[in-house]
Protein backbone atom coordinates (compact mmCIF):
# COMPACT_ATOMS: atom_id res chain seq x y z
CA UNK A 1 0.00 0.00 0.00
CA UNK A 2 1.61 3.24 -1.08
CA UNK A 3 1.62 6.34 1.06
CA UNK A 4 -0.70 7.90 -1.48
CA UNK A 5 -3.52 5.44 -1.00
CA UNK A 6 -3.32 5.40 2.76
CA UNK A 7 -3.71 9.14 2.98
CA UNK A 8 -7.12 10.63 3.28
CA UNK A 9 -6.61 14.26 2.43
CA UNK A 10 -3.52 15.85 0.95
CA UNK A 11 -3.12 19.47 0.16
CA UNK A 12 -0.08 21.30 -1.08
CA UNK A 13 0.42 25.06 -0.94
CA UNK A 14 -3.33 25.56 -0.86
CA UNK A 15 -4.19 29.23 -1.14
CA UNK A 16 -7.49 31.02 -1.48
CA UNK A 17 -8.04 34.75 -1.27
CA UNK A 18 -11.44 36.34 -1.54
CA UNK A 19 -12.13 39.69 -3.15
CA UNK A 20 -11.51 42.32 -0.55
CA UNK A 21 -8.21 40.76 0.33
CA UNK A 22 -9.44 38.27 2.88
CA UNK A 23 -6.95 35.46 2.79
CA UNK A 24 -8.89 32.44 3.89
CA UNK A 25 -6.13 29.91 3.22
CA UNK A 26 -2.48 30.70 2.86
CA UNK A 27 -0.14 28.04 1.55
CA UNK A 28 -1.71 25.18 3.48
CA UNK A 29 0.13 21.87 3.44
CA UNK A 30 -1.83 19.02 4.94
CA UNK A 31 -1.43 15.32 5.05
CA UNK A 32 -4.22 13.59 6.90
CA UNK A 33 -4.65 9.87 7.36
CA UNK A 34 -7.82 7.94 8.08
CA UNK A 35 -9.35 8.60 11.45
CA UNK A 36 -11.17 11.35 13.26
CA UNK A 37 -9.69 14.77 12.63
CA UNK A 38 -10.47 17.99 14.42
CA UNK A 39 -10.25 21.19 12.41
CA UNK A 40 -9.92 24.26 14.54
CA UNK A 41 -9.63 27.74 13.16
CA UNK A 42 -9.44 31.32 14.15
CA UNK A 43 -9.55 34.67 12.51
CA UNK A 44 -10.98 34.08 9.15
CA UNK A 45 -13.08 31.97 6.91
CA UNK A 46 -10.53 29.15 6.79
CA UNK A 47 -12.59 26.20 7.86
CA UNK A 48 -15.61 26.76 5.62
CA UNK A 49 -13.36 27.55 2.71
CA UNK A 50 -11.44 24.36 3.27
CA UNK A 51 -14.64 22.35 3.31
CA UNK A 52 -15.82 23.96 0.12
CA UNK A 53 -12.52 23.21 -1.55
CA UNK A 54 -12.60 19.59 -0.40
CA UNK A 55 -16.09 19.28 -1.86
CA UNK A 56 -14.93 20.76 -5.12
CA UNK A 57 -17.26 23.73 -4.74
CA UNK A 58 -14.56 26.36 -4.63
CA UNK A 59 -11.48 26.44 -6.78
CA UNK A 60 -8.34 27.45 -4.93
CA UNK A 61 -6.13 30.18 -6.31
CA UNK A 62 -3.07 28.00 -5.89
CA UNK A 63 -2.16 24.55 -4.85
CA UNK A 64 -3.46 21.01 -5.17
CA UNK A 65 -5.91 18.93 -3.23
CA UNK A 66 -6.35 15.21 -3.21
CA UNK A 67 -9.15 13.52 -1.35
CA UNK A 68 -9.39 9.74 -1.00
CA UNK A 69 -6.88 9.38 -3.80
CA UNK A 70 -8.73 11.59 -6.26
CA UNK A 71 -7.65 14.99 -7.52
CA UNK A 72 -10.42 17.42 -6.67
CA UNK A 73 -9.60 19.71 -9.54
CA UNK A 74 -10.03 17.04 -12.20
CA UNK A 75 -12.81 14.99 -10.66
CA UNK A 76 -14.92 16.97 -8.20
CA UNK A 77 -17.96 14.85 -8.86
CA UNK A 78 -16.07 11.66 -8.10
CA UNK A 79 -14.79 13.19 -4.89
CA UNK A 80 -18.28 14.16 -3.83
CA UNK A 81 -19.40 10.60 -4.33
CA UNK A 82 -17.12 9.61 -1.50
CA UNK A 83 -17.86 12.48 0.81
CA UNK A 84 -20.65 13.26 3.21
CA UNK A 85 -21.39 16.73 4.51
CA UNK A 86 -23.22 17.98 7.58
CA UNK A 87 -23.70 21.76 7.49
CA UNK A 88 -23.92 23.81 10.64
CA UNK A 89 -27.21 25.51 9.88
CA UNK A 90 -30.68 24.04 9.64
CA UNK A 91 -30.95 22.44 6.24
CA UNK A 92 -33.61 19.78 6.33
CA UNK A 93 -36.93 20.03 4.48
CA UNK A 94 -39.48 20.44 7.23
CA UNK A 95 -42.54 18.90 5.66
CA UNK A 96 -41.10 15.45 5.05
CA UNK A 97 -40.31 12.67 7.47
CA UNK A 98 -36.74 11.86 8.46
CA UNK A 99 -36.98 8.52 6.70
CA UNK A 100 -38.13 10.12 3.48
CA UNK A 101 -35.49 12.82 3.55
CA UNK A 102 -32.59 10.51 4.31
CA UNK A 103 -33.68 7.92 1.75
CA UNK A 104 -34.17 10.53 -0.96
CA UNK A 105 -30.82 12.14 -0.25
CA UNK A 106 -29.33 8.69 -0.35
CA UNK A 107 -30.73 8.14 -3.81
CA UNK A 108 -29.41 11.48 -4.93
CA UNK A 109 -26.02 10.37 -3.69
CA UNK A 110 -26.19 7.48 -6.11
CA UNK A 111 -27.70 4.67 -4.09
CA UNK A 112 -30.20 2.44 -5.87
CA UNK A 113 -33.70 3.03 -4.52
CA UNK A 114 -34.02 -0.12 -2.48
CA UNK A 115 -30.54 0.21 -1.02
CA UNK A 116 -31.32 3.82 -0.19
CA UNK A 117 -34.34 2.78 1.83
CA UNK A 118 -32.43 0.14 3.68
CA UNK A 119 -29.42 2.34 4.36
CA UNK A 120 -31.71 5.13 5.53
CA UNK A 121 -33.27 2.75 7.99
CA UNK A 122 -29.86 1.53 9.15
CA UNK A 123 -28.34 4.94 9.70
CA UNK A 124 -31.43 6.29 11.42
CA UNK A 125 -31.13 3.34 13.80
CA UNK A 126 -27.48 4.18 14.28
CA UNK A 127 -28.12 7.77 15.21
CA UNK A 128 -30.83 6.72 17.60
CA UNK A 129 -33.97 8.01 15.94
CA UNK A 130 -36.76 5.56 16.68
CA UNK A 131 -40.44 6.06 15.83
CA UNK A 132 -39.75 9.75 15.47
CA UNK A 133 -38.27 9.02 12.06
CA UNK A 134 -41.73 8.71 10.55
CA UNK A 135 -42.84 12.09 11.75
CA UNK A 136 -42.28 15.32 9.82
CA UNK A 137 -39.04 17.05 10.69
CA UNK A 138 -40.97 20.15 11.58
CA UNK A 139 -41.61 18.84 15.06
CA UNK A 140 -38.07 17.70 15.76
CA UNK A 141 -35.94 19.02 18.59
CA UNK A 142 -32.45 20.37 17.89
CA UNK A 143 -30.92 17.09 18.94
CA UNK A 144 -33.11 15.10 16.58
CA UNK A 145 -32.37 17.45 13.72
CA UNK A 146 -28.64 17.20 14.26
CA UNK A 147 -28.89 13.44 14.29
CA UNK A 148 -30.91 13.44 11.07
CA UNK A 149 -28.32 15.69 9.49
CA UNK A 150 -25.62 13.28 10.48
CA UNK A 151 -27.66 10.40 9.12
CA UNK A 152 -27.97 11.96 5.67
CA UNK A 153 -24.23 12.59 5.66
CA UNK A 154 -23.39 8.92 6.17
CA UNK A 155 -26.27 7.29 4.30
CA UNK A 156 -24.22 6.58 1.18
CA UNK A 157 -21.40 4.98 3.19
CA UNK A 158 -18.87 7.69 2.45
CA UNK A 159 -15.13 7.43 2.97
CA UNK A 160 -15.03 10.79 4.67
CA UNK A 161 -17.64 13.00 6.27
CA UNK A 162 -17.24 16.71 6.91
CA UNK A 163 -19.05 17.89 10.02
CA UNK A 164 -19.47 21.59 10.62
CA UNK A 165 -20.00 22.31 14.33
CA UNK A 166 -21.95 19.11 14.94
CA UNK A 167 -22.63 19.94 18.58
CA UNK A 168 -23.99 23.44 17.99
CA UNK A 169 -27.18 24.08 19.89
CA UNK A 170 -27.07 20.79 21.76
CA UNK A 171 -27.37 20.67 25.52
CA UNK A 172 -24.65 18.80 27.44
CA UNK A 173 -26.43 15.48 27.21
CA UNK A 174 -27.00 15.92 23.50
CA UNK A 175 -23.39 16.89 22.98
CA UNK A 176 -22.28 13.78 24.76
CA UNK A 177 -24.41 11.58 22.54
CA UNK A 178 -23.34 13.30 19.35
CA UNK A 179 -19.66 12.97 20.24
CA UNK A 180 -20.23 9.31 21.06
CA UNK A 181 -21.80 8.78 17.66
CA UNK A 182 -18.93 10.52 15.95
CA UNK A 183 -16.41 8.39 17.80
CA UNK A 184 -18.11 5.27 16.52
CA UNK A 185 -17.87 6.30 12.90
CA UNK A 186 -14.19 5.51 12.68
CA UNK A 187 -15.01 1.94 13.58
CA UNK A 188 -17.27 1.74 10.53
CA UNK A 189 -14.52 2.81 8.20
CA UNK A 190 -15.80 6.35 7.94
CA UNK A 191 -13.22 9.07 8.52
CA UNK A 192 -14.40 12.34 9.96
CA UNK A 193 -13.23 15.92 9.83
CA UNK A 194 -14.95 17.97 12.51
CA UNK A 195 -14.77 21.72 12.17
CA UNK A 196 -15.41 23.21 15.56
CA UNK A 197 -14.49 25.97 17.93
CA UNK A 198 -14.75 23.71 20.95
CA UNK A 199 -11.31 22.34 21.62
CA UNK A 200 -12.73 20.22 24.37
CA UNK A 201 -14.80 18.29 21.83
CA UNK A 202 -11.72 17.77 19.70
CA UNK A 203 -9.66 16.53 22.60
CA UNK A 204 -12.37 14.07 23.55
CA UNK A 205 -13.04 12.71 20.07
CA UNK A 206 -10.24 13.24 17.59
CA UNK A 207 -7.02 11.36 17.06
CA UNK A 208 -5.64 14.04 14.75
CA UNK A 209 -5.86 17.81 15.00
CA UNK A 210 -5.39 20.60 12.46
CA UNK A 211 -5.19 24.15 13.74
CA UNK A 212 -5.46 27.07 11.36
CA UNK A 213 -5.06 30.73 12.20
CA UNK A 214 -5.59 33.43 9.60
CA UNK A 215 -5.32 30.85 6.85
CA UNK A 216 -1.98 29.45 7.96
CA UNK A 217 -1.31 26.13 9.55
CA UNK A 218 -0.48 26.58 13.19
CA UNK A 219 -0.36 22.96 14.29
CA UNK A 220 -1.15 19.58 12.84
CA UNK A 221 -0.59 16.06 14.05
CA UNK A 222 -1.84 13.37 16.33
CA UNK A 223 -3.71 14.68 19.33
CA UNK A 224 -1.68 12.60 21.73
CA UNK A 225 1.54 14.03 20.33
CA UNK A 226 0.35 17.60 20.67
CA UNK A 227 -0.57 17.10 24.29
CA UNK A 228 2.94 16.61 25.60
CA UNK A 229 3.48 16.41 29.28
CA UNK A 230 4.89 19.46 30.85
CA UNK A 231 7.42 17.89 33.13
CA UNK A 232 5.57 19.03 36.20
CA UNK A 233 3.65 16.94 38.67
CA UNK A 234 0.66 18.32 40.47
CA UNK A 235 -0.79 16.78 43.60
CA UNK A 236 -4.04 17.70 45.32
CA UNK A 237 -4.17 16.99 49.05
CA UNK A 238 -7.58 18.49 49.67
CA UNK A 239 -6.66 21.98 50.79
CA UNK A 240 -3.81 20.89 53.04
CA UNK A 241 -1.14 21.87 50.55
CA UNK A 242 0.93 23.93 52.99
CA UNK A 243 1.36 20.89 55.22
CA UNK A 244 2.75 18.90 52.34
CA UNK A 245 5.11 21.65 51.28
CA UNK A 246 6.39 21.81 54.82
CA UNK A 247 6.81 18.04 54.94
CA UNK A 248 8.79 18.11 51.69
CA UNK A 249 11.02 20.99 52.69
CA UNK A 250 13.89 18.86 53.77
CA UNK A 251 13.82 16.47 50.83
CA UNK A 252 16.59 16.17 48.30
CA UNK A 253 16.13 17.00 44.64
CA UNK A 254 13.05 18.58 43.07
CA UNK A 255 10.81 17.57 45.95
CA UNK A 256 12.57 20.03 48.16
CA UNK A 257 11.42 22.90 45.99
CA UNK A 258 7.77 22.02 45.85
CA UNK A 259 5.50 25.03 45.36
CA UNK A 260 1.95 25.82 46.32
CA UNK A 261 -0.24 26.60 43.32
CA UNK A 262 -3.13 29.10 43.16
CA UNK A 263 -5.81 26.44 43.47
CA UNK A 264 -4.26 24.92 46.57
CA UNK A 265 -2.48 22.03 44.89
CA UNK A 266 1.23 21.38 45.18
CA UNK A 267 3.57 21.33 42.19
CA UNK A 268 6.98 19.79 41.76
CA UNK A 269 9.15 20.31 38.71
CA UNK A 270 9.84 16.71 37.82
CA UNK A 271 7.98 13.63 36.71
CA UNK A 272 10.55 10.87 37.03
CA UNK A 273 9.08 7.72 38.48
CA UNK A 274 11.34 7.72 41.52
CA UNK A 275 10.40 11.27 42.39
CA UNK A 276 6.69 10.53 42.20
CA UNK A 277 7.08 7.50 44.44
CA UNK A 278 8.87 9.54 47.05
CA UNK A 279 6.18 12.18 46.78
CA UNK A 280 3.47 9.66 47.58
CA UNK A 281 5.56 8.32 50.42
CA UNK A 282 5.70 11.82 51.83
CA UNK A 283 1.94 12.19 51.51
CA UNK A 284 1.48 8.89 53.30
CA UNK A 285 3.91 9.76 56.08
CA UNK A 286 2.21 13.08 56.66
CA UNK A 287 -1.17 11.34 56.85
CA UNK A 288 -2.60 13.55 54.12
CA UNK A 289 -5.47 12.52 51.78
CA UNK A 290 -4.55 11.94 48.15
CA UNK A 291 -7.33 13.53 46.07
CA UNK A 292 -5.48 14.04 42.84
CA UNK A 293 -2.21 13.35 41.08
CA UNK A 294 -1.33 14.28 37.52
CA UNK A 295 1.66 15.01 35.36
CA UNK A 296 0.15 18.23 34.11
CA UNK A 297 -0.96 17.26 30.60
CA UNK A 298 -1.89 20.34 28.72
CA UNK A 299 -5.21 20.89 27.11
CA UNK A 300 -5.63 21.70 23.44
CA UNK A 301 -6.64 25.18 24.50
CA UNK A 302 -3.11 25.76 25.79
CA UNK A 303 -1.56 24.28 22.67
CA UNK A 304 -3.64 26.48 20.41
CA UNK A 305 -2.95 29.67 22.27
CA UNK A 306 0.75 28.96 22.43
CA UNK A 307 1.05 28.21 18.76
CA UNK A 308 -1.21 31.07 17.73
CA UNK A 309 0.81 33.48 19.80
CA UNK A 310 4.08 32.34 18.28
CA UNK A 311 2.59 32.47 14.80
CA UNK A 312 1.43 36.04 15.28
CA UNK A 313 4.72 37.00 16.86
CA UNK A 314 6.60 35.64 13.89
CA UNK A 315 4.31 37.22 11.32
Amino acid sequence: MTAESASLVETRALTKTYSGGVRALDGLDLSLTEGTIGLVGANGAGKSTLFRILLGLTRPDHGTVRVAGLDVATDPIGVRSRLGFMPEHDCLPTDQSATDVVATLGEIAGLPARAARQRASDVLDLVGLDEARFRPIEGFSTGMRQRTKLAQAIVADPTLVLLDEPTAGLDPAGRHEMLDLIRRLAGFGISVIIATHLLDDVQATCDQVVMIDAGRLVAAGRTADLLETTGRVRVDVGGRGPELVAALAGEAGALGSATLAADGSVEIAADAEAEVDRLIEAVHRAGLPLHGLSSGRRTLDDVFLDRARTAHGAA
Binding site: L57, L92, D95, L105, G110, A115, A156
Partner: protein
Protein backbone atom coordinates in the same frame (compact mmCIF):
# COMPACT_ATOMS: atom_id res chain seq x y z
CA UNK B 1 -25.95 -10.46 2.02
CA UNK B 2 -24.31 -12.64 4.58
CA UNK B 3 -24.57 -12.20 8.28
CA UNK B 4 -21.23 -12.59 9.92
CA UNK B 5 -21.34 -14.18 13.32
CA UNK B 6 -19.28 -12.28 15.84
CA UNK B 7 -18.90 -15.02 18.36
CA UNK B 8 -18.04 -18.68 17.96
CA UNK B 9 -20.82 -21.01 18.91
CA UNK B 10 -20.72 -21.33 22.65
CA UNK B 11 -21.56 -24.80 23.71
CA UNK B 12 -23.42 -24.73 26.94
CA UNK B 13 -25.61 -27.10 28.76
CA UNK B 14 -28.43 -26.04 26.46
CA UNK B 15 -26.63 -26.44 23.12
CA UNK B 16 -24.84 -23.81 21.06
CA UNK B 17 -25.67 -20.07 21.05
CA UNK B 18 -24.29 -17.39 18.84
CA UNK B 19 -24.56 -13.64 18.40
CA UNK B 20 -24.87 -12.47 14.83
CA UNK B 21 -23.41 -9.22 13.81
CA UNK B 22 -25.83 -6.43 14.60
CA UNK B 23 -23.33 -3.76 13.79
CA UNK B 24 -22.75 -1.56 10.81
CA UNK B 25 -23.44 -2.95 7.36
CA UNK B 26 -21.32 -1.14 4.83
CA UNK B 27 -22.71 -0.59 1.38
CA UNK B 28 -20.94 -2.96 -0.95
CA UNK B 29 -22.78 -2.15 -4.14
CA UNK B 30 -21.72 0.31 -6.78
CA UNK B 31 -22.69 3.92 -6.31
CA UNK B 32 -24.36 5.39 -9.35
CA UNK B 33 -22.64 8.53 -10.51
CA UNK B 34 -23.91 11.78 -11.87
CA UNK B 35 -26.63 10.31 -14.00
CA UNK B 36 -28.10 8.33 -11.13
CA UNK B 37 -28.03 11.42 -8.96
CA UNK B 38 -29.82 13.59 -11.50
CA UNK B 39 -32.41 10.92 -12.16
CA UNK B 40 -33.02 10.52 -8.46
CA UNK B 41 -33.47 14.25 -8.02
CA UNK B 42 -35.85 14.36 -10.97
CA UNK B 43 -37.87 11.49 -9.57
CA UNK B 44 -37.98 13.02 -6.11
CA UNK B 45 -39.24 16.31 -7.55
CA UNK B 46 -41.95 14.60 -9.59
CA UNK B 47 -43.01 12.68 -6.51
CA UNK B 48 -43.21 15.87 -4.54
CA UNK B 49 -45.28 17.66 -7.16
CA UNK B 50 -47.73 14.80 -7.43
CA UNK B 51 -48.02 14.39 -3.72
CA UNK B 52 -46.68 10.87 -3.75
CA UNK B 53 -45.40 9.83 -0.31
CA UNK B 54 -47.03 12.92 1.14
CA UNK B 55 -50.35 13.52 2.80
CA UNK B 56 -53.63 13.10 0.94
CA UNK B 57 -54.02 16.86 0.95
CA UNK B 58 -50.99 17.22 -1.30
CA UNK B 59 -52.31 14.55 -3.61
CA UNK B 60 -55.73 16.08 -3.94
CA UNK B 61 -54.99 19.00 -6.23
CA UNK B 62 -52.81 17.31 -8.85
CA UNK B 63 -55.02 14.30 -9.28
CA UNK B 64 -58.19 16.33 -9.24
CA UNK B 65 -56.63 18.56 -11.84
CA UNK B 66 -55.82 15.61 -14.04
CA UNK B 67 -59.45 14.61 -13.86
CA UNK B 68 -60.58 18.13 -14.65
CA UNK B 69 -58.40 18.49 -17.73
CA UNK B 70 -59.48 15.09 -18.95
CA UNK B 71 -63.17 15.91 -18.67
CA UNK B 72 -63.43 17.65 -22.06
CA UNK B 73 -62.02 14.52 -23.67
CA UNK B 74 -64.47 12.27 -21.89
CA UNK B 75 -67.39 14.55 -22.68
CA UNK B 76 -66.38 14.75 -26.31
CA UNK B 77 -66.09 11.02 -26.65
CA UNK B 78 -69.34 10.63 -24.83
CA UNK B 79 -71.13 12.98 -27.18
CA UNK B 80 -69.53 11.32 -30.18
CA UNK B 81 -70.75 7.98 -28.92
CA UNK B 82 -74.23 9.17 -28.24
CA UNK B 83 -74.54 10.92 -31.59
CA UNK B 84 -72.79 8.33 -33.68
CA UNK B 85 -75.83 7.33 -35.54
CA UNK B 86 -77.42 10.72 -35.72
CA UNK B 87 -76.97 13.68 -38.03
CA UNK B 88 -75.09 15.54 -35.30
CA UNK B 89 -72.37 12.97 -35.42
CA UNK B 90 -69.49 15.29 -36.28
CA UNK B 91 -70.23 17.67 -33.48
CA UNK B 92 -67.22 18.15 -31.26
CA UNK B 93 -66.80 20.44 -28.35
CA UNK B 94 -63.05 20.52 -28.64
CA UNK B 95 -60.51 19.89 -31.34
CA UNK B 96 -57.05 18.48 -30.80
CA UNK B 97 -55.59 21.83 -31.56
CA UNK B 98 -57.76 23.62 -29.09
CA UNK B 99 -57.09 21.02 -26.48
CA UNK B 100 -53.43 21.93 -26.57
CA UNK B 101 -54.46 25.11 -24.98
CA UNK B 102 -53.79 26.95 -21.88
CA UNK B 103 -56.23 25.46 -19.51
CA UNK B 104 -56.50 27.77 -16.54
CA UNK B 105 -56.36 24.91 -14.16
CA UNK B 106 -53.13 23.64 -15.68
CA UNK B 107 -51.61 27.07 -15.40
CA UNK B 108 -52.54 27.37 -11.78
CA UNK B 109 -50.99 23.97 -11.30
CA UNK B 110 -47.70 25.04 -12.82
CA UNK B 111 -47.84 28.22 -10.79
CA UNK B 112 -48.09 26.19 -7.61
CA UNK B 113 -45.89 23.26 -8.47
CA UNK B 114 -42.82 25.01 -9.82
CA UNK B 115 -42.46 27.06 -6.64
CA UNK B 116 -43.06 23.95 -4.58
CA UNK B 117 -40.11 22.07 -6.05
CA UNK B 118 -37.79 25.07 -6.09
CA UNK B 119 -38.52 27.40 -3.21
CA UNK B 120 -38.31 24.99 -0.27
CA UNK B 121 -34.76 24.03 -1.26
CA UNK B 122 -33.83 27.65 -0.83
CA UNK B 123 -36.02 28.39 2.15
CA UNK B 124 -34.91 25.39 4.16
CA UNK B 125 -31.34 25.93 3.01
CA UNK B 126 -31.24 22.40 1.67
CA UNK B 127 -29.09 23.38 -1.31
CA UNK B 128 -25.77 22.70 0.50
CA UNK B 129 -26.88 19.12 1.05
CA UNK B 130 -27.38 18.84 -2.69
CA UNK B 131 -24.15 20.65 -3.55
CA UNK B 132 -22.30 17.95 -1.68
CA UNK B 133 -23.72 15.27 -3.92
CA UNK B 134 -22.34 14.10 -7.25
CA UNK B 135 -24.13 16.59 -9.42
CA UNK B 136 -23.52 20.09 -10.73
CA UNK B 137 -25.70 23.17 -10.53
CA UNK B 138 -26.78 22.67 -14.10
CA UNK B 139 -27.77 19.10 -13.32
CA UNK B 140 -29.97 20.42 -10.54
CA UNK B 141 -31.72 22.79 -12.92
CA UNK B 142 -32.19 20.11 -15.55
CA UNK B 143 -33.71 17.77 -12.98
CA UNK B 144 -36.09 20.38 -11.63
CA UNK B 145 -37.23 21.80 -14.96
CA UNK B 146 -37.40 18.25 -16.21
CA UNK B 147 -39.72 17.30 -13.39
CA UNK B 148 -42.16 20.13 -14.07
CA UNK B 149 -41.90 19.48 -17.78
CA UNK B 150 -42.71 15.84 -17.27
CA UNK B 151 -45.83 16.62 -15.32
CA UNK B 152 -47.09 19.42 -17.55
CA UNK B 153 -46.46 17.26 -20.58
CA UNK B 154 -48.26 14.32 -19.02
CA UNK B 155 -51.23 16.42 -17.99
CA UNK B 156 -51.41 17.90 -21.46
CA UNK B 157 -50.82 14.67 -23.32
CA UNK B 158 -52.82 12.06 -21.44
CA UNK B 159 -56.19 13.73 -21.96
CA UNK B 160 -55.36 13.91 -25.64
CA UNK B 161 -54.68 10.21 -25.66
CA UNK B 162 -58.04 9.63 -24.01
CA UNK B 163 -59.66 11.80 -26.63
CA UNK B 164 -57.97 10.15 -29.56
CA UNK B 165 -58.45 6.59 -28.44
CA UNK B 166 -61.99 7.34 -27.43
CA UNK B 167 -62.79 8.85 -30.81
CA UNK B 168 -61.09 5.96 -32.51
CA UNK B 169 -63.20 3.42 -30.70
CA UNK B 170 -66.40 5.36 -31.18
CA UNK B 171 -65.90 5.89 -34.89
CA UNK B 172 -67.16 3.47 -37.51
CA UNK B 173 -63.76 2.17 -38.40
CA UNK B 174 -60.95 2.64 -35.94
CA UNK B 175 -58.18 2.08 -38.45
CA UNK B 176 -59.70 4.59 -40.84
CA UNK B 177 -59.95 7.10 -38.06
CA UNK B 178 -56.33 6.49 -37.21
CA UNK B 179 -55.20 6.95 -40.80
CA UNK B 180 -57.31 10.05 -41.34
CA UNK B 181 -55.99 11.67 -38.21
CA UNK B 182 -52.42 10.42 -38.33
CA UNK B 183 -51.07 13.92 -38.34
CA UNK B 184 -52.49 14.43 -34.89
CA UNK B 185 -50.19 11.69 -33.62
CA UNK B 186 -47.14 13.90 -34.03
CA UNK B 187 -48.80 17.29 -33.80
CA UNK B 188 -50.10 16.79 -30.30
CA UNK B 189 -46.89 15.56 -28.63
CA UNK B 190 -44.78 18.21 -30.37
CA UNK B 191 -47.03 21.10 -29.53
CA UNK B 192 -47.61 19.92 -25.97
CA UNK B 193 -43.83 19.64 -25.58
CA UNK B 194 -43.32 23.15 -26.89
CA UNK B 195 -45.84 24.38 -24.38
CA UNK B 196 -44.49 22.34 -21.52
CA UNK B 197 -40.85 23.30 -21.95
CA UNK B 198 -41.83 26.95 -22.14
CA UNK B 199 -43.98 27.03 -19.04
CA UNK B 200 -41.72 24.82 -16.98
CA UNK B 201 -38.55 26.78 -17.82
CA UNK B 202 -40.22 30.11 -17.22
CA UNK B 203 -41.98 29.10 -14.02
CA UNK B 204 -38.87 27.53 -12.51
CA UNK B 205 -36.80 30.58 -13.46
CA UNK B 206 -39.24 32.95 -11.75
CA UNK B 207 -39.51 30.67 -8.73
CA UNK B 208 -35.74 30.61 -8.32
CA UNK B 209 -35.83 34.19 -7.13
CA UNK B 210 -38.10 33.59 -4.18
CA UNK B 211 -37.76 31.68 -0.95
CA UNK B 212 -41.46 31.61 -0.26
CA UNK B 213 -43.71 29.59 -2.53
CA UNK B 214 -46.58 32.01 -2.31
CA UNK B 215 -44.39 34.89 -3.45
CA UNK B 216 -43.10 32.91 -6.41
CA UNK B 217 -46.58 31.78 -7.42
CA UNK B 218 -47.92 35.30 -7.17
CA UNK B 219 -45.03 36.71 -9.16
CA UNK B 220 -45.50 34.16 -11.87
CA UNK B 221 -49.21 34.68 -12.24
CA UNK B 222 -48.84 38.43 -12.13
CA UNK B 223 -46.21 38.46 -14.86
CA UNK B 224 -48.31 36.27 -17.12
CA UNK B 225 -51.50 38.19 -16.45
CA UNK B 226 -49.93 41.61 -16.83
CA UNK B 227 -48.25 40.76 -20.11
CA UNK B 228 -51.48 39.38 -21.49
CA UNK B 229 -53.36 42.52 -20.52
CA UNK B 230 -50.66 44.78 -21.92
CA UNK B 231 -50.63 42.83 -25.16
CA UNK B 232 -54.36 43.23 -25.40
CA UNK B 233 -54.22 46.96 -24.76
CA UNK B 234 -51.39 47.53 -27.19
CA UNK B 235 -53.07 45.41 -29.75
CA UNK B 236 -56.20 47.49 -29.98
CA UNK B 237 -58.16 46.46 -26.97
CA UNK B 238 -60.91 44.73 -28.93
CA UNK B 239 -61.75 41.11 -29.11
CA UNK B 240 -60.75 39.77 -32.49
CA UNK B 241 -58.17 42.45 -33.18
CA UNK B 242 -54.97 41.32 -34.71
CA UNK B 243 -51.65 42.92 -33.97
CA UNK B 244 -47.97 42.20 -33.70
CA UNK B 245 -48.20 43.16 -30.06
CA UNK B 246 -49.79 39.84 -29.39
CA UNK B 247 -46.28 38.44 -28.97
CA UNK B 248 -45.92 40.41 -25.76
CA UNK B 249 -48.51 38.15 -24.21
CA UNK B 250 -46.19 35.73 -22.48
CA UNK B 251 -49.13 33.73 -21.28
CA UNK B 252 -50.36 32.75 -24.73
CA UNK B 253 -47.08 32.83 -26.60
CA UNK B 254 -46.61 29.08 -27.09
CA UNK B 255 -49.99 28.91 -28.70
CA UNK B 256 -48.60 30.58 -31.78
CA UNK B 257 -46.12 27.75 -32.12
CA UNK B 258 -48.92 25.31 -31.64
CA UNK B 259 -50.66 26.94 -34.55
CA UNK B 260 -47.56 26.51 -36.64
CA UNK B 261 -47.49 22.84 -35.78
CA UNK B 262 -51.15 22.27 -36.51
CA UNK B 263 -51.76 24.71 -39.34
CA UNK B 264 -48.45 25.98 -40.60
CA UNK B 265 -49.13 29.48 -39.38
CA UNK B 266 -51.40 31.67 -37.23
CA UNK B 267 -54.90 30.29 -37.11
CA UNK B 268 -57.94 32.21 -38.15
CA UNK B 269 -58.84 33.18 -34.62
CA UNK B 270 -55.30 33.99 -33.57
CA UNK B 271 -54.40 37.60 -32.87
CA UNK B 272 -51.39 37.13 -35.14
CA UNK B 273 -53.53 36.23 -38.11
CA UNK B 274 -52.50 38.13 -41.16
CA UNK B 275 -49.63 39.95 -39.47
CA UNK B 276 -46.46 40.08 -41.55
CA UNK B 277 -43.72 37.97 -40.01
CA UNK B 278 -46.01 37.34 -37.10
CA UNK B 279 -44.87 33.78 -36.73
CA UNK B 280 -41.20 34.63 -37.01
CA UNK B 281 -41.46 37.30 -34.34
CA UNK B 282 -43.49 35.00 -32.16
CA UNK B 283 -40.87 32.31 -32.50
CA UNK B 284 -38.18 34.83 -31.71
CA UNK B 285 -39.84 35.94 -28.51
CA UNK B 286 -40.46 32.33 -27.53
CA UNK B 287 -36.81 31.42 -27.92
CA UNK B 288 -35.78 34.57 -26.07
CA UNK B 289 -37.95 33.65 -23.11
CA UNK B 290 -36.49 30.16 -23.08
CA UNK B 291 -32.92 31.40 -23.34
CA UNK B 292 -33.47 34.02 -20.68
CA UNK B 293 -35.03 31.51 -18.32
CA UNK B 294 -32.18 29.07 -18.70
CA UNK B 295 -29.67 31.85 -18.45
CA UNK B 296 -31.18 32.98 -15.19
CA UNK B 297 -31.27 29.46 -13.84
CA UNK B 298 -27.71 28.77 -14.81
CA UNK B 299 -26.63 31.87 -12.92
CA UNK B 300 -28.82 31.27 -9.87
CA UNK B 301 -27.55 27.76 -9.38
CA UNK B 302 -23.90 28.14 -10.12
CA UNK B 303 -22.47 26.20 -7.24
CA UNK B 304 -18.85 26.14 -8.11
CA UNK B 305 -17.17 29.44 -7.63
CA UNK B 306 -13.88 30.14 -9.25
Amino acid sequence: MTTVPTSPPSPGAHGAGRVYDRGYRPFDGVLGGRRAAVTALWRASVRRALGIRRSWRQKLFPWLLLVVVTIPAIVNVGIAYVTRDSPARDFTIITYRDYVGVSTALLVFVGLTAPDVICPDRRNRTLPLLFARPLTGLDYVVAKVGAIFTIVFAFGFLPQVVLFVGQMLVSDAAIDYLVDNAAVLWQVPVSVSLLAIYYSSFAVAVASFATRRIVAAAALLIILLVTSIVAGVLGGGEEGDTSIWAVVNLLALPLHLRDVVFEGGPAADSPLHGIDNGTAVGLGVYLTVLAASWGVLWRRYRWVEA
